[in-house]
């Protein structure tokens, strides 16, 4: 009964958000294009033969960056910015009355956006293969499924971190600047711009304890067929989700107690 209700709610939310997202197809296409930084990085790597020092062939490296592009496309999170706007405008108040955590709404929004984005990402990948025909490969089904799961986990980790930051809106009003701060280590340490394996050893010694390499590097390595520790990576992802989720619940319940609607 209850699970049926939740299922119906989630389904309705998804449907509403998907049709909402389809309204802004051009916008989402532009989002997809704005994620092509990994390809510029690949160009620097191969053009200067930088991969010699880390023993990865050109083909594997180009696959890595293509996968990094894909993983990034399906793990982009912007919940802070939506929540900040809603909370500044006082839109959170009606959401709070509803018998549904407002973050489900944002969650559905993100999932719907990913579905809308999928064809555009495929088109970009298609162009990538036209320019780099030697890097075409077909991953086997098991690996494909595992990497979809790990990309989803990466999305979940980022969604939880951003939701925690978003809850800080209850205290500071402008939480997006904290998110911009957190984005910097995500950008440089996640493997979007350079595979983690190329990092100097003084960084590699501690980086695997942080959530960053599991956001892009691990799923991208998995999908592209580069060497990686599958069970270790997946369990670290699950561990981080289990660490972050109670924290989010805690800060959410504290925050809603603190929340005063506009004008009170």
């Amino acid at each position: 009964m209850i699970s049926n209700l939740i299922k119906r709610k989630i389904f309705t939310l998804l449907k509403v958000q998907y049709s909402n997202m389809l309204e802004y197809r051009v916008e989402i296409a532009l989002w997809a294009i704005s994620g092509i930084i990994p390809f510029f990085m690949l160009n620097i790597w191969t053009n200067n033969n930088l991969n010699e020092s880390i023993n990865i062939s050109d083909v594997l490296l180009s696959r890595y960056f293509l996968c990094a592009f894909f993983v990034r496309q399906f793990s982009v999170v912007w919940v802070v910015f939506s929540f900040e706007e809603d909370s500044l405008m006082g839109k959170v108040s009606p959401y709070l009355i509803q018998p549904l955590n407002p973050f489900f709404r944002y969650f559905a929004q993100h999932l719907a956006e990913q579905i809308t984005r999928f064809p555009f990402a495929l088109i970009i990948a298609f162009f990538f293969f036209i320019f780099n025909p030697e890097s075409i490969w077909i991953p086997n089904l098991g690996i494909l499924l595992l990497s979809i799961v790990s990309t989803f986990f990466s999305f979940l980790i980022q969604f939880l971190i951003q939701s925690i930051v978003a809850c800080l809106c209850f205290w500071t009003e402008k939480a997006s600047s904290i998110e911009r701060l957190l984005f910097i280590p995500t950008l440089f340490l996640s493997g979007l711009l350079a595979p983690v394996i190329s990092f100097p050893s003084y960084v590699k010694s501690w980086i695997y304890l942080t959530p960053f390499p599991y956001l892009i590097d691990f799923p991208a390595n998995l999908l592209s067929g580069n060497e990686t520790n599958i069970s270790g990576g997946l369990s670290m992802q699950i561990l981080w989700i289990f660490l972050l989720f109670p924290l989010f619940k805690k800060i959410w319940s504290e925050g809603t107690k603190k929340y005063t609607a506009m004008g009170s």
Partner: protein
């Protein structure tokens, strides 16, 4: 055009926007940390690229640092002036408040481009200059008058090109309403301004000098710093900057003709 009137109006702009931004003091601190981390991150990335043999695209690490410094200064300028103002155009058009701007007895482009200021960008500009002075020392560049004039000419041309690019894209909002994401695309393209142009493949080099002149923005000023630049390149940059400024002005005047206020 009454120059003194505009100066007086600009002083008022400065006063009001500084007053409102200084409301969020912790925000400025967070932004400072973000700027520092982002600079550290990009130097870290650069050092990874130089692990192999100490050269990318014919540039040494110390020389490539100059590009970083100029990029940081320009990014600071973007965050101080271009980003807060030009993203506002999107809002003006969506909410129909552009009417109020057009009615004012003042040049609309002036009003739209300089209304707001974000003081946290100043910190980034200072950070960039610090790095630049450091680079001047380690590269043993001797400062003389001709060098100073050439470098300030090229940097101001870069600022003009950057402004025109931003303004150009923001203006397209009059037709497309939501070009917020087009700005994100521009941002991701500008990201390659952190690296020497020669480190990219030939086709990308052509693309980034003909279609989107990012090559001119950071690489030519850095070449001036290193004394590598030839006169025709500097002249070309001046011409490109002038063309961009004039076209963006013409484009704005052209675009306003198509502006039909909200609900009409």
């Amino acid at each position: 055009m009454n120059f003194r009137k505009y100066l007086k109006v600009y002083k008022k702009f400065l006063h009001t926007s500084l007053a409102s931004e200084l409301e969020y003091k912790t925000n400025i601190l967070v932004d400072l940390i973000t700027a520092i981390l982002s600079l550290v991150g990009s130097i870290f990335l650069l050092s990874i690229f130089f692990q192999n043999d100490g050269y990318i695209g014919g540039w040494k690490f110390e020389q490539a640092l100059i590009i970083q410094a100029i990029y940081t200064i320009l990014n600071g300028i973007t965050n101080t002036w271009f980003n807060p103002n030009l993203t506002e155009i999107v809002k003006h058009i969506r909410e129909g408040t552009l009417d109020f701007v057009l009615l004012k007895p003042i040049d609309s482009q002036f009003f739209i481009s300089l209304k707001k200021i974000n003081p946290s960008g100043f910190l980034e500009i200072m950070l960039g200059f610090l790095l630049l002075f450091f680079c001047i020392r380690i590269n043993q560049i001797n400062l003389n008058i001709s060098f100073m004039t050439l470098s300030s000419i090229t940097i101001s041309c870069s600022i003009c090109i950057l402004y025109s690019l931003w303004f150009f894209i923001s203006t397209t909002t009059i037709w497309f309403v939501k070009t917020w994401n087009a700005i994100e695309v521009l941002r991701s393209f500008l990201y390659i301004g952190r690296f020497p142009l020669n480190s990219f493949s030939f086709s990308l080099r052509i693309f980034f000098s003909v279609f989107i002149p990012i090559a001119f923005i950071t690489t030519i000023p850095s070449e001036v710093f290193l004394g590598l630049s030839v006169l025709w390149k500097i002249l070309l940059e001046v011409v490109v900057a002038a063309v961009f400024l004039i076209t963006s002005r013409k484009f704005w005047l052209f675009a306003i003709k198509f502006y039909s206020s909200a609900s009409s």
